[in-house]
């Protein structure tokens, strides 16, 4: 329950005294504020000034003991947002960093939206969209604390200053900690709340830009951080799901199975399959996997990976495809080109496999629904559940836990709806956990795609024409909440990184062929750039080779005129990787650069290939320009993580279909990089001071082409489809493409 004291809508800040059962909020200064979420992952954040009381979704609390807690309405999935967001606030607040705490924002009435329907932690957007408002919150709180101190001491606020969690008055040598001042600050009249707090200049930053330890590390190392799978609710039952093996199939013998369930277990029909409920998860899982279930046909019945490839290829040949980019006359330019190149590239479906298997705890009660889930969007979860159950959003409470990895998978709500159905059916709180097998076989996969590329060089070896036709299922088509597939017929997620190339080239044509294959697809770390950077950066390498130019110099020349930030990033990666120096015998390198989510990343991979054809990636050098940044240590960690995620996929990642079913099932056949395969990763941040870009995703796109370009340098074999493990790199054999 909240009681409104006063608000300051112009600033998007509000104060409330609130007595709240769930969040155990003690007295002190509490500021509520609105962090705008991205309505669409492409949309820029709405301005902070549009905030209204109802939309308050994040809180800053200064307790009387000086502890400062930020309740963040964002999902911590490893990307460090629970540290970066408090850092920006603490900077302006002049807080003592050791006193800062962070907690997920509870989902109660005070966190409900009425205007904006939902926000998602995705698109690497949290810091990009919220930087300034976070600064203003910190600055406002600081000025209020200063005013409170000044009034107490009977001096002018201007004669006081704040530092390290305290206010000082130099002339009278007085000092008061924030904790002591919190109550007085909370009681200030509204005209004492600054309307336009002056924000620090970059040169005044003490915390932002310095490597800072994560606030969530101690709990994670102690095993105390609560992930969705760790939630415990009194009276809770456990559920295991068994999906129809073919996408879109249904259980054909549900009634017979339900009648014959072993004692203490219940069978429930859920979207996508059936679930077994029992007193322990092991029991539920054992019964679920042993069910003699019969399944109906589905959307992918009979489909195989070979057929998918054929369909994608055929789709690129269709007449009248929607055009994403059109510049000059590439057909004519190609006819006149001195050198012409044509190539077909493709990449497979990929699963996300976050380390924490999917799960959700749901309690459907007569008075409403309570959910505990590690989701990338608690607001979207609420909306989807409300649409599905017709229970109004005000009666749905979502407790967001830590996420054991998200990568886009936890932007989906399939496991949430299943948990809701199960709890409703058994009338008890239920924790649903998917086995790893169900996770691998029932994902919303990174779409498979295939692209036909053409390029032409003039007599100087410069590109004159570039054309690409990409066949790829649409992700946005299903996301009607994000507006679905636009009228243009172009799915921005399918063409990003291909339709907006930065290299100088006067004649360009990029077309999109939407392929509908029945396999569920979704956002996978770096989305379309995860495949398009591989296509473009490999093909540019082919062009460089055809032009007999060094791949770094070739790229640099094509960016020099109009893209200074790209050049700086390329030069940086060339410098840190000692690009100009020869490598030891047997080592080879490749380079790639890609922009995604507002950040530019270039990578150099150093590889060797054994006599038997086994590739090893020894080192990866990363240069990133993500504009203004908060915590450099997080950026380095995200680059390491992004490289490893992309490397796992490039080397071995493939989800294949046979008879309409996914063939892989666990980490033995859908492997991630092992500790022994970890390359040394060197990261340098290019400090451009530009608008902040994302860091969670941009490390991923360049790694696949950096590695395959290096393998080309090593073996002369051009790898045009992933994963690399499907190609023979042994010296004697010809590459099987």
């Amino acid at each position: 329950m909240t009681q409104e004291l006063e608000k300051n809508p112009r600033e998007g800040l509000s104060r409330r005294a609130f007595v709240q059962s769930g969040a155990a909020v003690a007295a002190g200064l509490v500021l509520g504020f609105y962090l705008p979420g991205n309505k669409h992952r492409r949309a820029e954040a709405a301005s902070a000034s549009g905030a209204s009381e109802e939309r308050v979704n994040t809180w800053l609390r200064i307790a009387t003991d000086g502890a400062i807690t930020i309740y963040v309405a964002r999902s911590e999935m490893g990307q460090g947002i629970f540290t970066a967001m408090p850092m920006v606030i603490a900077e302006e607040l002049e807080a003592d960093w050791s006193k800062m705490r962070v907690e997920p924002a509870p989902s109660g009435p005070e966190f409900n939206y009425s205007g904006r329907p939902f926000e998602v932690t995705g698109g690497s957007s949290s810091i990009r969209s919220n930087w300034e408002i976070l600064q203003r919150i910190g600055a406002t709180a600081r000025l209020m604390l200063i005013t409170a101190a000044a009034r107490k001491w009977g001096v002018e606020p201007e004669s006081c200053r704040a530092e390290q969690g305290a206010v000082f008055h130099a002339a009278s040598k007085r000092k008061a900690g924030y904790g002591e001042l919190a109550a007085a600050a909370a009681a200030l009249p509204s005209d004492a709340i600054p309307k336009e707090p002056k924000l620090k200049a970059r040169s005044e930053y003490k915390l932002i830009g310095k490597p800072t330890k994560r606030l969530d590390t101690p709990d994670k190392v102690a095993g105390k951080a609560v992930f969705g799978i760790d939630v415990s609710v009194p009276g809770m039952q456990y559920a295991a799901v068994r999906h129809a093996p073919v996408f879109g199939g249904e259980c054909a013998n549900f009634a017979a199975l339900a009648k014959a369930m072993p004692e203490g277990t219940t069978l429930v029909k859920v979207p996508g399959g059936v679930a077994v409920v029992a007193a322990s998860w092991w029991k539920a899982q054992k019964v679920a996997s042993g069910l003699d279930a019969k399944w109906t046909k589905g959307a992918t019945t009979g489909l195989s990976s070979a057929a998918i490839e054929k369909k994608l290829r055929a789709a690129t040949g269709a007449k009248k495809l929607p055009v994403a980019t059109s510049k000059g006359d590439p057909s004519k330019a190609l006819r006149k080109a001195k050198v012409k190149l044509e190539a077909e590239y493709s990449t497979p479906y990929l699963a996300h496999t976050p380390m924490e298997p999917l799960n959700c705890t749901a309690h459907v009660k007569p008075e409403g629904i309570e959910l505990w889930v590690g989701t990338q969007s608690h607001t979207l979860t609420k909306l989807v559940v409300s649409n599905h159950t017709k229970v109004p959003q005000e009666k749905i409470v979502v407790h967001t836990t830590y996420l054991g990895g998200g990568f886009g998978r936890r932007a989906e709500s399939d496991m949430v709806l299943q948990a809701v159905e199960i709890s409703k059916a058994v009338g008890k709180p239920v924790k649903l956990i998917w086995s790893r097998e169900e996770d691998v076989q029932h994902d919303f996969y990174r779409p498979a795609s295939l692209v036909k590329l053409k390029g032409g060089l003039d007599e100087k070896g410069l590109p004159v024409a570039f054309s690409a036709t990409i066949a790829c299922p649409s992700i946005f088509e299903r996301w009607t909440l994000f507006g679905g597939l636009p009228k243009s017929g172009i799915d921005s997620a399918a063409v990003e990184g291909l339709a907006d190339i930065k290299y100088d080239c006067p004649h360009q044509h990029v077309a999109y062929a939407r392929a509908d294959l029945g396999v569920p697809v979704g956002f996978w770390r770096s989305v379309g750039s995860s495949h398009n950077a591989f296509y473009l950066e490999s093909f540019i390498d082919e062009l460089a080779h055809a032009a007999k130019k060094d791949p770094y110099a070739f790229r640099r020349g094509l960016l020099e005129k109009s893209h200074p930030r790209f050049v700086k990033v390329l030069d940086t990666v060339a410098r840190i990787s000692n690009w100009k120096d020869p490598l030891p015998e047997g080592r080879h390198r490749g380079i790639a650069i890609a922009e995604s989510f507002g950040s530019i990343v270039a990578e150099v991979a150093e590889v060797s290939v054994s006599a038997g054809g086994q590739p090893t990636v020894h080192k990866v050098y990363v240069a990133i320009d993500c504009g203004r940044y908060v915590n450099p240590d997080t950026i380095v960690a995200q680059m390491e993580g992004g490289v490893v995620y992309g490397l796992s996929a490039a080397l071995n990642g493939e989800i294949s279909l046979k008879d309409g079913r996914v063939e892989q099932s666990n980490f033995h056949d859908y492997p991630m990089l092992k500790p022994s395969e970890m390359p040394e990763i060197v990261v340098e941040i290019v400090d451009s001071g530009a608008a902040p870009g994302g860091v969670g995703e941009p490390g991923t796109p360049p790694i696949a082409p950096a590695v395959t370009n290096a393998l080309f340098a090593a073996t002369g074999k051009r790898i045009r489809s992933l994963p690399i493990s499907k190609h023979s790199l042994a010296a004697q054999e010809d590459a099987k493409l």
């Binding site: 709990d219 994670k220 102690a222 095993g223 092991w282 380390m355 390491e640 980490f667 990089l673």
Partner: protein, 154 residues
């Protein structure tokens, strides 16, 4: 099946079907959720705990087969004071953090067996997977732990 187990220095009695993996007994019966479920097939190590000081993947061990003393991350130290936990904090190793209790337990068992392990011994012991790609920092943390261990002795 009723059985008594020694977990984190305490004698506890549990009631579970005999083939239930130790992991699920720890998590659901005893509320010790530090050991995580990742694959259920012995492939990832998220479920690593100690039995008599040796690292085991608890998703593969039926509870009926457990005879030694079990230590989980909760029993490693009450306050992150174990040198391995200290090292992990110093290296700021975790990202999502889900695999990290298992990683810490794998390292703690290694250092218990070998105060000064060789590179090969480290590689052989530190095989747990991490989807977030924190291997570089884990490597660093292991080195810090070896040093701290030598100094403080645990």
């Amino acid at each position: 099946m009723a059985k008594s187990l020694k977990v984190n220095g305490r004698e506890v009695s549990i009631e579970a079907e005999s083939d239930t993996p130790l992991l699920w007994v720890l998590r659901e019966e005893l509320g010790l959720t530090g050991a995580k479920f990742g694959c259920g097939k012995g492939l990832c190590g998220a479920c690593t705990v100690h039995i008599d000081g040796v690292a085991v993947r608890s998703c593969l061990v039926p509870v009926s087969a457990v005879s030694g003393e079990v230590t989980t991350i909760e029993g490693l130290s009450p306050d992150n004071s174990h040198p391995v936990q200290q090292a992990w904090i110093e290296a700021d190793a975790p990202q999502c953090g889900y695999c990290q209790p298992g990683q810490v337990m794998a390292c703690a068992a290694l250092l218990k067996a070998k105060a000064n392990p060789t590179e090969e011994e480290i590689s052989a012991a530190m095989t747990n997977l991490c989807r977030c790609g924190t291997y570089g920092r884990i490597r660093k943390a292991v080195q810090i732990a070896i040093k701290r261990n030598a100094k403080g002795g645990a």
